[in-house]
Amino acid sequence: MPKYAMVIDLQRCVGCGACSIACRNENNVPDGIYWSNKITETAGTFPNVRFHYLPTLCNHCSDAPCVEGCPTKAMHKLDNGITMHDPDKCIGCRYCQYNCPYEVIYFNWQDPHKFWRNPKPVIEGGTSSPKEMAQTVNNGNGAPYSNPGRGKTLPENRPKGVVEKCTFCDHRIKVGEIPYCVEACPADARIFGDLDKPDSKVNRLLGKFKPYRLKERLGTEPNVYYIRSFNPAHYQRTKGGI
């Protein structure tokens, strides 16, 4: 059985967020919810200042506190290491959300894609209402560009009252495709693979660089690893001084 992991090469990352927008698209994620996200930081003071970008997503922890705390086993581990969620079993208690130290689980406070239910056009007779557009294009099933592929292992659009999060695109993995954020990254900064295959691309990178994971000390054993630096700038060597 494979054990899936992702390596994020921060040097290759250009901070463009194509991963996050593509994820929205692939997984029909509503506005305000970020299965794929980022932590940014502006460090220093002018003119000695830089902007740093760290892509984040569900870490698919081997020892996942979200799974541990779920009262209904809606949040569960798959044999391949993916932390999966079953909205059928979810009672919306948000226990997982509280337990996740990475803030990557989101709760659906409202019906998904509410935007597309609005019946008012901006110009009567001349433009569509969102509702009319969604109905004409896709029978009112979420957004007009809703991806039916997502519906293979989860509801295509998750309802109000349950949580949702990144699934490593389990629906794609099932048919032999890599997660969509990985495919969509223009910089190839995300590398996906099987930790159980000694010669997999992820293992090669983890053996070559000093990888680190988020909040390692919590012992959650994340399966998202980071290598290299977002800003590998050169600088003039110095011993400093007093």
Partner: protein
């Protein structure tokens, strides 16, 4: 709709290393959380029943990737769209392209929200409120295509019957290379000189420098993978223009193999990953460039294989000293010593430090590092330094650095375009009648070529002065405009000082807008025609360069359109031509019938055939094996349309050395080419070159006019009243100002360093904000001498003190429900153009956007 910002700025450290929290304490926290979570859970009733409904998917779910082209910016990447049952679902890079390959920048995905934007106009409409103005609701009502086209044809016929066809005007915005059907041929055959493009609000000044040094009027390719030093000037290739996808793909390697330095007053996306950030004072790029040139020469770092050397090998470029040009033997360049003597000899780093407010050591370090990397040392000219008043000379100065280090047309340097083999459409000459010929002889509405608007695109008046057309219309100078058509343009939003356009457009008695959305421009229109979306619904092609290749990438209708859209550049002119023929003027239709299908030899009989045949006609050399000239080879049309893109042969380096399209065929540090064209312009107006420069608001006189040099920026506003210099920039999610109606644009706005989701922010350095009592999130009013806007303050260290950075793209008061706060009435955020006065780099005709105005900031 308002979303809560999802920002975690400043918490990186917490996530990387959580020393405070051990596994044990975490478990404790988990148990504490239990009570709260369960209590909360009871307040929300899960609607599990909705699951069954929500999980139903439409159709088979099996789709197909179809070739397409993205025009979200002018990278013009080749794409593929995943189409399921006639519906666009996803977008990715077209692996067949050698320019962008599989790489896709973030903004391409927003095309899905554009094509299915509910606020797209779905049918032709006419205005029923005869009063025109920003505060007048046009009261648009739907009409048939037949009625719309009939009215347009009537108005054109009226002009023709009265021998005043020159009062017809065509305004072009985003185009494909099908443009000439509508922009050129239709305008000419009707009989008007007034086809006005958007080019001068794009980046003509960015082409000015390369043209008057190396004879190339175009954007350059940058060979970043083989460069050892990349010096960027107001260019942000990881976020905006050009080849963002390609550069994003290779930048992670470039940061290893090259030193990257970027001159820009705000910390851009590219600056975030750079080795050196040179946050210079806006408008001083030219000073930095000539100081770097000074160091390159005094330190002996010029590339001798390209520039040549002193005959005896001794470097006589010593600060402050004249050099005898007889002692230097140039190879592939013209005038290095003249340039030194006229401009460079005193332009020391110390001199530049005072002007740019950069440390002397940094200027020296960058100059020497850049020179040591010669010839694999790129000086990357963006719009920043040159889309300024007097920016033409900064454009030359920045580009001339490539000449000094021999990076021009070289490995690891800058390249021109590769050859491509598309063909032009049939000539219109035989279809121009006497009315048309007479009409065409009138002068253009944008005043190009007048003494004060040289617009030197290769010849005097060769370029457009887009933004000045508003003044031409307002003053009926040289004549009034009675009938106008605009397509995929929004000058009432995209041009600085847009209230001039509001008044100008309101003055045109009959205005037609071909557009996807009812925009600010549309607000003044009499007829709206619903346009196709270029990426999914249109036949067309564009050409782009990058990665050492040129591609010609096709657009095709690949989805089921929702509305009754027609293609702007082909179908609509054909339909107008049909109506004109019905009314007794068939020349335009007769001309369009000459666009025969190269495969079948058939002439088009309707608008759909015309759109397709015109494209096949223009691209025949690419797909017809009998006409093969180079690059990718195809067996026929069907194979090309399936691949979606044709690639050129690889770039042939160093073929242009001493074979440039300049007067001297050399790279001109002393521009004989500029001298020639300026003298022609002066002669045309019976005056001297110096007088031309004076009228056009440049400082140079005499020989200095012909060499790259620093000119002090011309910035509007008194420093006391307006203490900050306005810094305009582009979002990495902008699709040329057309994506603000997409929710993803706002939900991910913080992908622009320092910006905030669902806000339009003015970024101000905390040390400037504090004394003014301005805090993060405050509503603020920015005011310049020419206008004002209201937005939100963001205190950010990545902004140079003394400047305020504000992104272009928001501030729509029309366009749609998301782009505006109240459609047709209240803008969301503010448009930078409301601050920028209508000013020009007159030599290139460009509109100035940068270092153009001072502003003040107050709490709103």
């Amino acid at each position: 709709m308002e979303m809560k910002p999802n920002q975690k700025e400043g918490t990186l450290k917490d996530f990387l290393n959580d020393y405070k929290m051990s596994r044990r304490s975490f478990m404790k926290r988990a148990s504490v959380a239990t009570g709260g979570a369960i209590a909360l859970g009871t307040t929300v009733k899960p609607t599990l029943r909705a699951l069954a409904q929500a999980s139903e998917t439409t159709g088979s779910g099996a789709g197909e990737w179809k070739a397409a082209t993205c025009q979200g910016c002018t990278s013009w990447c080749s794409k593929q769209v995943y189409v399921v049952d006639g519906r666009a679902v996803k977008v990715r890079g077209n692996p067949n392209s050698k320019v962008n390959g599989e790489a896709s920048c973030p903004r391409v995905h927003l095309a899905l929200q554009q094509v299915y934007d509910p606020d797209r106009i779905k049918t032709p409409m006419k205005r029923t409120n005869p009063k025109k103005g920003r505060n007048e609701d046009p009261k648009f009502v739907p009409i048939s295509w037949d009625e719309a086209l009939g009215t347009i044809a009537d108005k054109i016929m009226e002009l023709r019957n009265n021998n005043e066809t020159h009062k017809y005007m065509l305004m072009r915005g985003r185009y494909s290379y099908m443009r000439d059907v509508l922009y050129d041929r239709m305008t000419k055959i009707i009989g008007s000189p007034n086809n006005i493009s958007h080019s001068a609000i794009c980046a003509e000044a960015e082409k000015f420098g390369p043209y008057y040094t190396e004879g190339y009027w175009g954007y350059r390719q940058y060979d970043v993978q083989r460069a050892r030093y990349i010096l960027l000037w107001g260019a942000d290739p990881l976020a905006a223009n050009r080849q963002v996808s390609y550069y994003s793909a290779v930048w992670g390697d470039a940061v290893d193999s090259a030193t990257i330095a970027i001159a820009e007053p705000r910390l851009s996306a590219t600056a975030a990953k750079a080795d050196e950030w040179l946050p210079l004072k806006p408008g001083t790029d030219g000073a930095l460039a000539v100081a770097i040139a000074h160091v390159l020469l005094t330190e002996g770092l010029w590339y001798k294989e390209f520039v040549g050397d002193f005959i005896d090998g001794e470097n006589r470029f010593v600060s402050g000293q004249y050099v005898d040009s007889e002692l230097f033997e140039e190879k592939h360049t013209n005038g290095i010593v003249t340039w030194w003597n006229l401009e460079l000899k005193d332009k020391t780093p110390e001199w530049a430090a005072k002007i740019t407010d950069l440390p002397v050591e940094q200027i020296k370090r960058v100059a020497v590092g850049y020179g040591q990397a010669a010839p694999h040392a790129i000086s990357w000219l963006g719009g920043g330094p040159c889309m300024q008043v007097r920016g033409g000379y900064a454009s030359m100065a920045v580009h001339a650095l490539n000449g000094i280090v021999g990076a021009v047309d070289n490995v690891g340097g800058t390249q021109q375009s590769n050859k491509e083999y598309t063909t032009k459409f049939p000539k219109p000459d035989d279809f121009l009648d006497e009315i048309a010929k007479a009409g065409k002889k009138h002068k253009k509405i944008d005043h190009r070529g007048r003494l004060e608007f040289p617009a030197l695109n290769k010849k005097p008046g060769g370029g457009v002065v887009t933004n000045n057309a508003a003044d031409g219309i307002l003053n009926a100078d040289p004549n009034e405009i009675k009938v106008a058509i605009g397509y995929m343009n929004n000058f009432a939003f995209s041009c600085p000082q847009p209230e001039r356009w509001e008044r100008a457009l309101a003055k045109i008695p009959f205005l037609v807008h071909i557009t996807t959305n009812a925009s600010e421009f549309s607000w003044f229109a009499d007829i709206l025609l619903p346009d196709t979306h270029h990426m999914f619904e249109k036949w067309g092609y564009v050409k782009a360069i990058g990665n050492g290749y040129r591609h010609v990438t096709l657009m095709q209708p690949i989805i089921e359109p929702v509305g009754d859209y027609k293609i702007d550049e082909t179908e609509i002119p054909w339909l107008i031509a049909e109506k004109l023929a019905e009314k007794g003027f068939s020349n335009l239709l007769d001309h369009y019938k000459t666009y025969i299908d190269p495969e079948t030899g058939k002439a088009p009989t309707n608008e759909k055939e015309f759109a397709l045949y015109a494209l096949k006609y223009a691209t025949q050399n690419l797909w017809d094996p009998a006409k093969y000239k180079g690059g990718d080879k195809f067996s026929g049309w069907n194979e090309l349309i399936k691949a979606g893109v044709w690639n050129s042969d690889p770039y042939p380096y160093r073929k242009k050395w001493s074979n440039m399209k300049t007067k001297t065929k050399k790279f001109e540090f002393y521009s004989e080419t500029l001298k020639d064209v300026l003298e022609k312009h002066a002669e045309k107006h019976n005056t001297t070159v110096d007088h031309v420069l004076e009228v056009c608001n440049y400082l140079a006189r005499g020989e200095m006019v012909f060499v790259p040099h620093y000119e002090e920026a011309f910035i509007a506003g008194d420093e006391k009243e307006y203490p900050f210099i306005h810094v305009d920039y582009k979002s990495r999610l902008n699709r040329e100002g057309r994506s603000a109606n997409c929710t993803w644009y706002h939900d991910f706005k913080d992908l622009d360093p320092g910006d905030v989701p669902w806000q339009d922010v003015a970024k101000i350095n905390p040390r400037d904000a504090r004394p003014l009592g301005i805090k993060n999130g405050d509503k603020v009013k920015l005011t310049s001498p020419s206008g004002s806007l209201t937005c939100t303050a963001s205190l950010w260290e990545g902004v140079r003190p003394g400047t305020i950075a504000k992104c272009y793209g928001q501030g729509h008061w029309a366009y749609g429900r998301v782009a505006s706060r109240v459609f047709g009435k209240v803008p969301r955020g503010g448009s930078s153009n409301d601050l920028i006065p209508a000013q020009y780099d007159r030599l290139s005709g460009s509109t100035a956007f940068y270092a153009t105005t001072r502003i003040k900031i107050e709490k709103a």
